[in-house]
Amino acid sequence: MLSQIEGSLAVARSVMRCRPEVVAAYPISPQTHIVEGLADLVRTGELSPCEYLMVESEFGAMSACIGASAAGARAYTATASQGLLFMAEALYNASGLGLPVVMTVANRAIGAPINIWNDHSDAMSQRDSGWVQLYAESNQEAVDLHIQAFRLAEQLSVPVMVCMDGFILTHAVERVEIPEQAEVDRFLPPFTPRQLLDPAHPQTIGAMVGPEAFTEVKYLMHAKQMEALDQIPAIAGEFEASFGRAAGGLVRGHRIEDADTVVVALGSVLGTIEDVVDSMRADGVRIGALGIKSFRPWPAEEVREALAGAGRVVVVEKAFAVGAGGIVGQNVRLALSGTAPVVFDVVAGLGGRAITRASLRGLFEDVLADRVVPDRLHFLDLNTELVERELDRSRRGLIGAHAERMLRDLGTAGAGPY
């Protein structure tokens, strides 16, 4: 049904269509509207049978999902930011046990300093937790990805995270098509667990595994994610066939066929980037955009293939590895190793700073004009004056080649917005 609806509520309805039997959640902005919506749906009986657990923490939320899933129930939760970190231990456990829990992450920055606005630091911090990570670029896609997520999770017995930008998507009221129950039921069969807590067939779940088999267990986890690289596009294709619209998949290109500059990004910023790309195309610039839909598993081959023809690759991401560089950027470099393209790492939209078309266009033009040093981390819309002042103040702490080079960068960067 087509409706003008807030992203969070749309996701809540989509999750309802997936018939979760246990929802356990702990409130944290900007995830709250999703679980509030589900709580309502459970109370009104629209979602039934389903148990809604008001747990005492995100750690408890994920733990309850682990228990529910082990008991053969379809389990769902949602969180963000600090909450995701508070779950971290349980995330690894859910994936280690191969429990097909599905979780929405309403992406939000991580403190300190405390900041409730959007970026990808939370999800990126858990990129190695063994969870599949899918990124939605619109509320429609968020709705569609959840349906695919349950299918994927239960097909492979692997937990899946659907990432959607906090506030930007969760709180945006937009036109969204929410699938009918019958359609979803056709697409998503009932959950048949691979392991089950059942007095009729007792099993020991969660054994202690020593050096003799731990490597193999982890290898099999990895193999499962590699298998997901085939399942994700297959499921996306099936979804498009039965729902009549495209969503998900591994990567999605926008005007990359003949592009010699390709912007790589994930999440809601893609729409804005595509808008800039189109306007620059109108001016004759051969630029395109590549959206990463599945960050875990990392579709190295697909990325490599998509970027093969490009000379420049600009990775715009909403998180970075402090003291190292871009995270998506590093993965892109890995995918491109041994090939031509120059990769630019740009961090943007940290802690909710708006990523405007103006800034993006300025960035792309600078890149095209070789005003940006490749292979180094850049910060979009950085207040260079301010940081210079601050660095000056503590200059004593900054000596040595690396620090000096950083200052030089600031000097040059002072010219541009990044």
């Binding site: 280690g96 392991q195 099993q203």
Partner: protein, 544 residues
């Protein structure tokens, strides 16, 4: 279900891991010697028959038959035994000893009432055995020898069987119908009893009768000698003859004030009897104090209740018609009485001497090989005298003198005679380790106060010969039996099965062998041993 590798396992698979390999010690089920059994002169397996009796109606007869394997006089024992078993009973250290004696009496009376009997199952051996004396020891020997298939003849000098059971123990402690019933049960097995038949020359009697072996058990029927200066007209009697007369229905003249000289049970019995014969004063004179008195404390207590008076630390210096002159004694450091030279006059119409008894050994005087020492016949460990084939027991051999001891001798001698006749080997089993209090885990025993047998009210005790001590009824006999701790013996409480952290105790549910240690898994922690209430498991080192 295609469950994930390694993280999800099939149940119960750890049984493949044989943890028994960790063990340095292993638990072993064992039977220890219960203190009651160790203390019983009649060699009764008390723990075992109490175990049977715990079952109530279903177990009473089995319990009685267990007693009868060693002692043919349960009803008598249940009255006259001074029950050293109860003195030894571990429960005494917990609350109060189990009333073994009262349960035994209950079982004995049940048997008489219900007419339970034993039968000779052994094949006749064709051997003839002479038993001299139909007292506890002789009758016991006759009983056991008969059950072993021998043909037994008893020569009894007196007119009635029973010996000291009849002549030494007043009827108010042992009703005669009880004694007669148990004696009859023995005779009914086919024992020949010749009364008023005194053996004067044992070897002669044996040759004449063609006996293969003999058991001498004439007891100690002669009053002990004690010189007491007596004036003319002094009335002095001897305890044993007095009790004999009484048993034959005569009423000896004692007067209203009776003094009894001696500290043994006989002395007390005489005093209590005197009371019943109408004496207003019955006074027991003893040279030491109450603590050192040989008489059993129950007897002394009951006597006191009946009004018998005691004069401690006194010896009789002189007796005449006026009464008794006693000299006060004092105990030296070794507890031996010492004269003080202080004298006291006590009014008394008669003095009864109860200063011990001697055996009439004329039957064996001069028999080759038989040695007599301080009035007793020397025997070896198997109760055989220096004369091959001649055994002796009861009061004629140097040992404690009591009915129970005598019965024990009879049992032991019977086994020895049986062996000597080549029909079996003498019993030589290693005595098991004692089940002393420390080996028990008494926590597990429910608190339960002992039930005491009721006593006849003292008025009737002063005037009649009715039985003083009453019996237990069915319910409290069961209660008392169940107070037994089964020291040193498994009674299937399932503790070991329950407390094993490794499920290494297998429950077999078989009588006799209830459990088995599964050495594949037993780690040797020893919990089963510590938590066994009765100390019936012990740890033994593994040979490594």
């Amino acid at each position: 279900m295609d469950k994930p590798f390694a993280i999800t396992l099939d149940v119960g698979t750890s049984r493949a891991n044989k943890t028994g390999a960790w063990r340095t010690e292993r638990p072993v089920y064992t039977d220890r010697l219960s203190p009651c059994n160790g203390a019983c002169p009649a060699r009764e397996n008390v723990q075992s028959w109490l175990y049977d009796a715990e079952e109530g109606e279903l177990g009473y007869e089995r319990a009685w038959r267990t007693i009868m394997r060693t002692n043919p006089f349960p009803a008598v024992m249940g009255r006259v035994c001074y029950h050293p078993c109860e003195d030894a009973c571990n429960r005494g250290q917990l609350d109060e000893a189990v009333g073994i004696n009262s349960v035994e009496r209950f079982l004995g009376d049940e048997a008489i009432q219900r007419g339970w009997r034993v039968a000779v199952e052994a094949e006749p051996t064709g051997k003839r055995i002479l038993v001299v004396g139909a007292g506890p020891s002789g009758l016991s020997a006759a009983y056991h020898l008969t059950l072993l298939g021998h043909s037994v003849t008893i020569h009894e000098a007196g007119p009635m069987p029973g010996g000291m059971m009849r002549y030494g123990i007043p009827r108010y402690r042992l009703p005669r119908e009880v004694l007669d019933a148990e004696v009859a049960r023995i005779l009914d097995l086919g024992v020949t009893l010749n009364l008023d038949t005194k053996v004067t020359d044992l070897t002669a009697t044996m040759t004449e009768g063609g006996y293969d072996a003999a058991f001498l058990a004439v007891g100690a029927q002669l009053s002990g000698r004690a010189y007491v200066p007596a004036g003319a007209a002094a009335r002095v009697l001897e305890a044993v003859s007095l009790l004999h007369e009484l048993e034959q229905g005569r009423r000896p003249l004692l007067g209203r004030r009776v003094a009894v000289y001696g500290g043994g049970n006989t002395a007390v019995d005489v005093a209590r009897t005197a009371k019943r014969l109408g004496a207003t004063d019955a006074l027991v004179i003893y040279r030491r104090n109450r603590d050192r008195m040989p008489a059993h404390e129950d007897e002394v207590r009951e006597a006191a209740e009946e009004g018998v008076l005691f004069k401690w630390l006194s010896t009789v210096a002189h007796v005449d018609a006026a009464g008794v002159t006693v000299e006060r004694m004092e105990l030296d450091d070794s507890g031996y009485p010492r004269p003080t030279g202080e004298f006291e006059q006590l009014p008394a119409d008669s003095l009864v001497l109860a200063v011990g008894q001697d055996s009439d050994l004329s039957a064996v005087e001069g028999v080759a090989g038989i040695e007599i020492e301080n009035g007793a016949v020397r025997v070896d460990r198997s109760m055989m005298t220096g004369h091959p084939g001649v055994f002796a027991g009861g009061d004629v051999v140097p040992d404690q003198r009591s009915v129970t001891v005598g019965i024990g001798h009879g049992l032991k001698a019977a086994g020895a005679i049986h062996a000597w006749l080549g029909a079996g080997s003498p019993a030589t089993e290693e005595p098991a380790a004692p089940a002393d209090f420390g080996t028990l885990n008494t926590w597990y025993y429910t608190d339960a106060e002992r039930v005491h047998r009721a006593l006849l009210e003292t008025v009737r005790r002063r005037s009649t010969f009715d039985e003083v001590v009453q019996g237990l009824d069915r319910s409290n006999a069961l209660f008392e039996a169940r107070r037994c701790l089964s020291c040193g013996h498994c009674f299937s409480c399932d503790n070991c099965f329950s407390v094993c952290p490794d499920n290494a105790v297998v429950k077999l549910d078989q009588p006799g062998a209830p459990y088995l240690i599964d050495l594949d898994y037993c780690k040797g922690c020893g919990l089963c041993v510590s938590e066994c209430p009765s100390g019936a498991i012990q740890m033994v080192p593994e040979d490594i």
